[in-house]
């Protein structure tokens, strides 16, 4: 099955053996706040507007942001946002915070283009703007903290799947919706990487399941019923779809026969990993992501992180690399397994 979702951006599959592609030096392409006051060392007010509030993932990033703010001591941070992942509402929230007069805005965009005008407005108001998790157009913010590059995620997921179901196994994907930018990019990269490095694997199909527990479970169950023994593995593309797929496999009595690999938070996956139904879960640590984003924002406000920098100090995370001109890489995606999953609580 050819993946037609997402955008028309080019894919950039990593090398099969993992040798890092030579970093192409790219000039800084982020924006600049106009007439930003000197904030160096001064207390600042920061608002974090994730895609939506009230889900576990952004709860975790929000925690990281709060941790960093506490550690820094001179930041007053709060998280606020729409109750559904809706571009319109997210824009209104940011707009309101621009009006209320904050010093910094952290965001995770529901849509990279739709959010750009309001972010530019923030920059124009002298506000420091840093994104994380989901990017906007580069010139609408100063920096973007990239949890893991799309092609890196694609490689990690597909490699793990190939390891479990073999080079000629067939798999299906359960995602939220075809229009969710991150998921769409990941799937694109997965498709490209799989074609390049695991050409014999068979991609059966991709189904949508919103961010809905029971729907994800039903869709995954239907996939199992439809393909029977042909289905060797399921990718869950969201932190909702992955545990629900694992549950579907468990309840169908297919543990060990159908592999589940996906992006998910450790807490939701513990029952399945502990029972050996799921061997590996790929994710970065969202608490770290929030933490890094906050550190980057502080560094930007202080003037320590400027255009052209190649790295930034991010508190306990140490030195983080600048890539792609104006992005800061959190690190390679992390793979949780039975051995280490107990150590995480988010």
């Amino acid at each position: 099955a050819t993946w037609t979702g997402g955008d028309d951006l080019p894919t950039n599959p990593l090398a099969c053996d993992g040798t890092a592609a030579p970093a192409v030096a790219k000039p800084y392409d982020g924006g600049e706040p106009t007439n930003a006051p000197d904030r160096k060392g001064k207390p600042i007010k920061v608002v974090d507007v994730p895609k939506l509030i009230g889900i576990g993932y952004f709860n975790a990033t929000s925690k990281g942001i709060a941790d960093a703010a506490k550690e820094l001591g001179n930041v007053e941070a709060k998280t606020d946002g729409p109750t559904q992942a809706n571009i319109d509402q997210q824009i209104s929230f940011i707009d309101n915070y621009i009006t209320s007069g904050v010093d910094g805005i952290l965001f995770a965009a529901n849509d990279p283009v739709a959010i750009a005008p309001v972010l530019k407005k923030a920059l124009a108001a002298g506000i420091n703007v840093v994104g994380y998790d989901a990017n906007s157009e580069p010139n609408a913010r100063q920096w973007f903290v990239n949890q893991a590059e799309f092609n890196g995620i694609g490689k990690a997921l597909v490699d793990n799947m190939a390891k479990e179901i073999g080079e000629d196994g067939s798999f299906a994907i359960v995602t939220s919706t075809f229009t969710t930018p991150n998921q769409a990019r990941w799937i694109s990269e997965m498709a490209a990487y799989q074609e390049k490095c695991h050409p014999k694997m068979k991609w059966l199909e991709t189904v949508e399941a919103q961010e809905d527990n029971v729907l994800s479970f039903n869709q995954a169950t239907t996939l199992i019923n439809k393909h029977g023994a042909d289905l060797k593995g399921i990718f869950g593309m969201t932190s909702v779809a992955t545990p629900a797929s694992a549950e579907a496999v468990t309840q169908a009595g297919q543990c060990g026969k159908v592999a589940v690999i996906g992006l998910a938070t450790p807490n939701a996956m513990k029952p399945y990993v502990e029972k050996d139904c799921v061997k590996s879960v790929v994710l970065w640590n969202p608490v770290d992501l929030g933490y890094a984003a906050m550190q980057v924002l502080r560094a930007t406000a202080d003037g320590d992180l400027k255009a052209g920098a190649t790295s930034v100090k991010a508190g306990k995370l140490g030195e983080l690399q600048v890539i792609n001109g104006s992005e800061i890489l959190l690190g390679a995606p992390y793979t949780f397994t039975k051995e280490n999953i107990k150590d995480f609580d988010f």
Binding site: G56, V207, E211, N218, K270
Partner: protein, 328 residues
């Protein structure tokens, strides 16, 4: 012959069989649609009719069917509840939190039902005694419950649920418990609606409130009761929802209220009140699960999935309208 028509008119003393069937027409249309779907998809891909998949179709939307029972009562009584999705989200979270925090399992099962009854009795009181249209009250409740849930839990996952709490995963004679809940509750409520005085009262209130009042029916009290019963079903649905997986995400399931209302109205419950049965809404919930499943089996591109669903709903409704016209 022409003369005899005038005084021994069209209607015979006893209901004619076809009229009896037509009176349950929507149920037959839905049943037909489910069977047709099964046959067509079964021919294309016999695995569709495999025991596992049929189980999934029946169990998949069982909690929606259970919630739709309560919703049907509310709609038959002439009201509506657009907050049911949020309520189920809240109740599922409450249930899960009780279960992981060491409270007895039975309490984790019972509490959502009791809280559902209390909350919706409150809603019903606003509707009945303060005469606020139910859509207004529940539109407000939708915001309140959803916002409140987020404020309190931030959507954290609830994990480490005790094994014996997961009632939706129990099976009896190989059939998952949600199916039992759905079938038994539907049958009980259908009988109750047909034979109990209160059941008929609900139809009467929905049909003509003023007439019900002068017929000596305590309209206000009955309205509160209908909402309370609906709350109980929302509570049961919430428990089934919460225990389907081994983890609970403490959020409001997206668009759940629309799905539940759609099941009720596609099931033949008149949005104007006064008519319909709960059998129809349960069949509609099963039909939705069957549609979702068959679209995957038929390899319908997920891009067109929703339009196909919308179209199928429209066709069912139009078929119902055509039937009603013939009945007249």
């Amino acid at each position: 012959m022409s003369a005899s028509l005038s005084t021994a008119p069209r209607a015979a003393p006893a209901m004619r069989p076809w009229k009896r069937i037509a009176a349950y027409g929507q149920e037959f249309i839905l049943l037909g649609a489910i069977l047709a779907l099964c046959i067509v998809v079964g021919i294309v891909n016999p695995r569709f009719l495999g025991a596992n998949n049929l189980t999934n179709i029946f169990a998949g939307n069982a909690y929606i069917a259970v919630a739709a029972i309560g919703m049907s009562l509310v709609i038959i009584s002439g009201h509506i509840d657009v907050a049911v999705g949020s309520l189920i989200g809240v109740l599922a979270t409450v249930s899960g939190l009780l279960a992981v925090n060491g409270y007895p399992i039975w309490l984790a099962w019972l509490a959502p039902i009791v809280i559902g009854v209390i909350v919706n009795a409150g809603v019903g009181s606003l509707v009945a005694y303060l005469r606020i249209p139910s859509i207004v009250v529940t539109l407000g409740m939708l915001s309140i419950l959803k916002g409140g849930l987020i404020s309190i839990t931030s959507g954290a996952w609830i994990t480490n649920l005790p094994e014996n709490y997961l009632i939706a995963q129990f099976r009896l004679f190989g059939i998952p418990s949600p199916v039992w809940f759905m079938v038994i509750l539907t049958a009980l409520v259908a009988l109750w609606m047909r034979y109990s005085a209160f059941g008929r009262t609900i139809y009467a209130i929905g049909g003509n409130v003023e007439a019900a009042r002068v017929a000596g029916i305590r309209v206000e009290r009955s309205t509160v009761l209908v909402f309370a019963i609906h709350g109980a079903f929302a509570g049961i649905a919430a428990v089934l929802f919460a225990t389907q997986l081994q983890v609970i995400q403490s959020t409001v399931p997206p668009n759940l209220e629309l799905t539940v209302i759609t099941a009720s109205v596609v099931g033949g419950v008149s949005i104007l009140g006064g008519t319909g049965t709960v059998i129809g809404s349960t069949l509609a919930a099963i039909l939705f699960a069957a549609i979702a499943s068959s679209l995957i089996f038929l390899n319908v591109s997920a891009y067109w999935l929703r339009s196909v669903q919308g179209l199928l709903i429209l066709i069912t409704v139009l078929a119902d309208m055509a039937r009603r016209r013939r009945l007249r």
